[in-house]
Amino acid sequence: MTTHDQYYVPEGSKWPIIASSGVLTLLAGIALAINGINGAVAMIIVGLVIMAILFFGWFSEVIHESREGYYNEQVDSSFRQGMMWFIGSEVFFFACFFGSYYYLREITLPYLGGEGHLGKTNMLWEGFKSTWPLLDLPATEGIRGHYIEAKEAMGAWGIPALNTAILLSSGGTLTWAHWGLKNNNRKQLKIGLALTIILGVTFFLLQVKEYGHAYTELHLTLQSGLYGSIFYLLTGFHGFHVVVGAIMLMAIFGRALKGHFSPHNHFAFEAVAWYWHFVDVVWLGLFIFVYWL
């Protein structure tokens, strides 16, 4: 049950407006840069610096308030529910990509290959065979110059399978660290967190190696048609979330070293753990549907 004593309403904060100007600078910079406007990269860097300062400053303030004991149980509950809904919205962000993948693979490609309610739908590109992974593109050479067909698709049982094991065990070590925290075993907490970070970073480095392999040896690029597009979209956004999650893990590791968190009061730890498990589950979906099946 939540208590209803004084709910902490912070005094005015400068961070939201800094966030807004940072977002504007960053995105306007990106919009200009991808259109080849000179000097836009500087805008992106300024935007990134503002965002970095923002996250550091805002979270420092919240951590300070939490350490000072401003937050009662009801505030804690607001944070928890807020994080839960945020992860919920992330689920739908990935659902958009997984749904698109399903649609393109199960509806669009067979349709382009001549199945479907209109009978001869492959009149656009005669003889196109719907296969997955899609290596032979519908457009023949010369008609659409900018797609370059990949030589080979990604396999599932090399590094990807290893990465699956790594990420799943990182979920295990994180839970082990959480048990340590709840039993006030600080050593277990620190070791568990350190292991999780090491596993997360290893995952990321292996993923970078895989990208290199795919780009140089398999010639699988963003320009390789649908398969490359889907592959890099899903693994790319997942990789971005891994990086964000790893940074969050490092932040709470630093806090754990400083002696923060108590067995009963450690929302930040749990929020990061939820996020990390979410990233885990997304990878599982990726491994099964993108690499394996």
């Binding site: 807004s20 919205s89 958009c96």
Partner: protein, 533 residues
Amino acid sequence: MSTDIAHEEHHHGPPKGIGRWLFSTNHKDIGTMYLVFALTMLFVGGASAMYIRAELFMPGVQFMEPDFYNNMVTNHALIMVFAVVMPAAAGLANWMIPMMIGAPDMALPRLNNLSFWLLPAAAVMLILSTVVPFLPGGGSAINTGWTLYPPLSIQTGMAMDFAIFTVHILGVSSILASINIVVTILNMRAPGMTLFKMPMFCWAWLFTGLLLIIIAPVLAGGVTMLLFDRHFGTSFFDAAGGGDPVLFQHLFWFFGHPEVYVLLLPSIGVLAMIIPTFARKPLFGYNSLVGGMAILFTLGLVAWAHHQYTVGMAAGPTTWFMIITILISIPVGLMLLNFMMTMWRGAMTFETPMLFAVAIVLMFSFAGVTGIMLAVVPADLEYHDSMFVVAHFHYALIPGALMGLLAAAFYWLPKWTGNMYDERLGKIFFWWNVISFNITFFPQHFYGLAGMPRRIVDYNPAFADLNMISSLGAFAYGLSHLLFLYIVIKTVRGGVKAGNKPWEGAQIGTPGLEWDLSSPPPFHSFTTPPVVK
């Protein structure tokens, strides 16, 4: 209780100077900023509508290039949806929900401020997208309409990148605002304020918030893929690489159709507050209205492709979307029945909010009827992309969303400012607004059915007379909002004192705790939560 400095300062009044607004963590101040932003953008979005109607005043191309016309059509929609109706509804939520449920503030006050301040950033991006085509090397204007369909949106100039990032910022803003509102409703209610004792406005926003948490990320994902197709050589929406432009339509409308309920539901919530007050009867069927909204929420998420009947979907899915779409008329009809049965044998008076409420019930039903026409596949093949569709959704969204928000403003202005608005001016505004609205959009049904396509700068001279009527109506309709602005400013500056419970204290049923507070309410409404019996 710990009496540290931060807690002590809570009992002070608002901070001084511009910092009060820039750094605000107060739900009323942020609500005010939302409302002021929405009202400002109403005139910006209205100006683009005035341009559209001026261009269509007679056949032929009058003023600027056709692409500029298309850009104005796009901006009008994006601004009205994302920068007027949604912020205004969020402003009402900010102002009212904490007071209604007896909370000290929104659950996450700093996040609340961030949700607001992202909006001006998005507005700057949208303005940039309109300006960029006029600069050397700026490329073409955004000529796709707000749906941003590829392949056209892939060929558009760099203005489209600004529009895509506008959508991203708006998406983040509305997700954060929705999270905040949902958490506030679920976690911040005063003791005894159970979910089923909540004012209906809170229920409406609970469903709205949940919808946005589901749909906004999907739109963000869709436009991200668009961005990749434009600049990084991917082929999500290009059949030559194995992709499909229709996929974007699915993603867009998975967002776009529930978005209609995002716009509509807050106003339904407002009507459920206003009608009992002026009918002096508790809301008829509280539980059934909640149930109706729940059904609307569910069906709304699986009805999206009724916007795409003509793209060549297979018969199976097309039938599914037709049936679901027709089914939606049942919960919506139930809601209107709730309102009519509340009025039935009530001791009704017709102050401005109630006049709007009655007009909304009537005109929104009309949009429901044309909606059924459009839902039926064989008929829709005929109506698709005609001005009939434009007439339909303006009858849905202006009464269903915008007028509901105007009614809310009249209903709560006495609470916000402590002053009664000028009732005579309010009534003049109502009649001027509603009559000119009908003059604008009613004829569009006719020339739409007769075959005039939408989104095209020129038209067959056969439609000239009716278009001229539409345009004259539109100018009068646009102008009427200046009177609204005048009424608001006049009320803020002074007027007859409202007292804590204006409207003869007729708030009945589940009116919310805001009426227990003074008018205007203190800067911090409930520092200790009231107990609801």
